[in-house]
Symmetry: C4
Subunit: 198 residues, 4 copies
């Protein structure tokens, strides 16, 4: 099957997820700057989640760019990823409206962890179809970020019960780690489309 | 007419349907795990409906992949399907917020039944245009799932007035039945695009 | 400029308009059939507006299919049409929640009338670019429906102050008139893409 | 990387932003024309923001039409632009519901200013990739509008603390300035795709 509808549907869902989060920023009644102060934690969670969904869109874009055609199991692995990402607005709102309380901050990490696992499953399904010498397989062979992120999420989830500031710092650090461009992977992906003989 | 805009519009509507359902998961005020307990039935209905809309997107994807060009009546049959699917968030919310009471559970089944009928009409309109020897006609000739689903929905609707657990189990079973990949159809669809002489 | 992004953006906006209308169907608190009764006028307005937005999507689809490339003024004429259609959820909700009171029913007609005028402007801008012998110009030369609709909207707006049932009947009649396929136009559009020498 | 998914995702986000703003137009309870009067400032802000998002979509469309392929930094510059535009519904609602009070009117300008800066960064990233003799570089060399807008936003933000009518007039004037078609740029963009020797 061609991949264009998978991309279009994912783009649609990710575009909606990233945009409806802003609906949690409820219009305040007052008109002074002080009226905006209670919105600050909501706004900060929004920024964090916007960056995360942006990273997922970006990586999804790269991954599918390196993919030829998709199978039925890839469609479902993709829906599984979208399911966990669709919960991001909920945990973002819960975390933001409760000023980064322990349980909401931990649940935020759980959803991010599940999304990371779902992304890894999707990648594994695509590589299983594309073959071990495909561009995607080679580009992700030394995928340090993808391996370190789940560990960091687990630490952040545990840390939420000690100090949520630590969790927040870890979430921000993971986002930053992904934001920094990865020249090596871009180079591999930009390489010849045909798989080398190995 | 080319089918690309039909696909794009359907992708958009399905992406929005699958995503706005999460808005029913209202951010709770408390921050303890107990605050999430009242959300459990809402969450379970969300998961069920997410899988159903995912199945429809998946099947729609397969069906249109096997379709050449579309006529005016196909456009309307498609809108008819989207209409019933657009009611899924409403019945999902009603069912979830009322902890699976009889009438909401039955209405959930009615909307799924109507969507199944609408899907069948859309398929029939496409086959009418494509011809009885088209790939889609051959792939759906022995469509057991498509024939058994409406019967199961009817049973589940009736069972809601006896025990909603039965209905819930049937809805979950239908979803599982569709989730299991159907190698035979995939093989037929993956076959030669040109219709055999018959 | 190519027309694909104009189509994609319009598909997105129309998909959202048609879907967010269902959010007006607020989940009721009771679980008996009687709990759904107050939603009946909201549901009826939803069905009517769903059909109208569906008609606009359908006609938009046909019109752009018959169009080559688009100019800057066409982009703005298209945004103008989307603006009026974006008000449909608001007037639908106002009309439905007020059980078809006079002013909301009249305003519903005003928005439909403005959308019809905006559609006509968009069509005129495209024909101005495509030339009087283009497929679209020929297909719309004897556009009876497009000319009769604004007159009917005006009558329905006035009738709202006498009996809103008349207005409702007219709105439904206009929708039905557009639903009935127009073989002649489809045939012209299906004809040769190249403009005849005139 | 090809640019089609960047366009599709941006179209999706912009379509949602432009459409969810209408959700701020809350259905009033009364049915007389007077019931609509409190909505007038909300409606006026909606119209203004609709035009602004429309301008951004239009310019984004033109800019990417003149672009070949996109790099990773362009993807992030684009997400940065979408972030600021995603705040437009919030500031639109705050400004409209508070009848154009000073702080909301100023914040509206701040978000527009940040979006203008983000647009400029995106344009600069694309030009850096396309080269100084690319069509986009030539088309924006004498970009008076792009340079004058930030200055006007700054004046409008300051003026909000003297008289918000001045700010509103400036916002409307900037929108009008962008609405007026810019024949020179359209001509340059319509020119030969290959870059001239300079």
């Amino acid at each position: 099957m061609p991949k264009n509808r998978l991309e279009a549907f994912s783009d649609g869902v990710l575009a909606i997820i990233i945009t409806i989060m802003v609906l949690e920023l409820k219009v305040p009644h007052g008109t002074e700057p002080a009226a905006l102060r209670p919105l600050l934690p909501v706004f900060l969670s929004y920024v964090l989640s916007f960056v995360y969904v942006g990273i997922y869109w970006n990586n999804h874009h790269h991954m599918l760019h390196a993919t030829g055609r998709v199978s039925g199991s890839v469609l479902w692995a993709n829906l599984h990823l979208l399911f966990w990402l669709s919960l991001v607005p909920f945990v973002t709102g819960w975390m933001g409206e409760n000023h980064f309380a322990a349980i909401p901050v931990a649940l935020y990490g759980v959803v991010l962890l599940m999304a990371a696992i779902a992304y890894w499953i999707l990648q594994a399904r695509i590589i299983a179809a594309e073959g071990p010498e495909s561009r995607l397989a080679r580009a992700t062979r030394h995928d340090v970020k993808g391996r370190i992120s789940p560990v960091l999420y687990l630490i952040a989830i545990g840390a939420a019960f000690i100090d949520t500031l630590i969790s927040g710092a870890i979430y921000a650090a993971i986002a930053l780690m992904w934001l920094v461009p990865d020249r090596r992977i871009e180079r591999t992906l930009a390489g010849p489309a045909a798989s080398p003989p190995g």
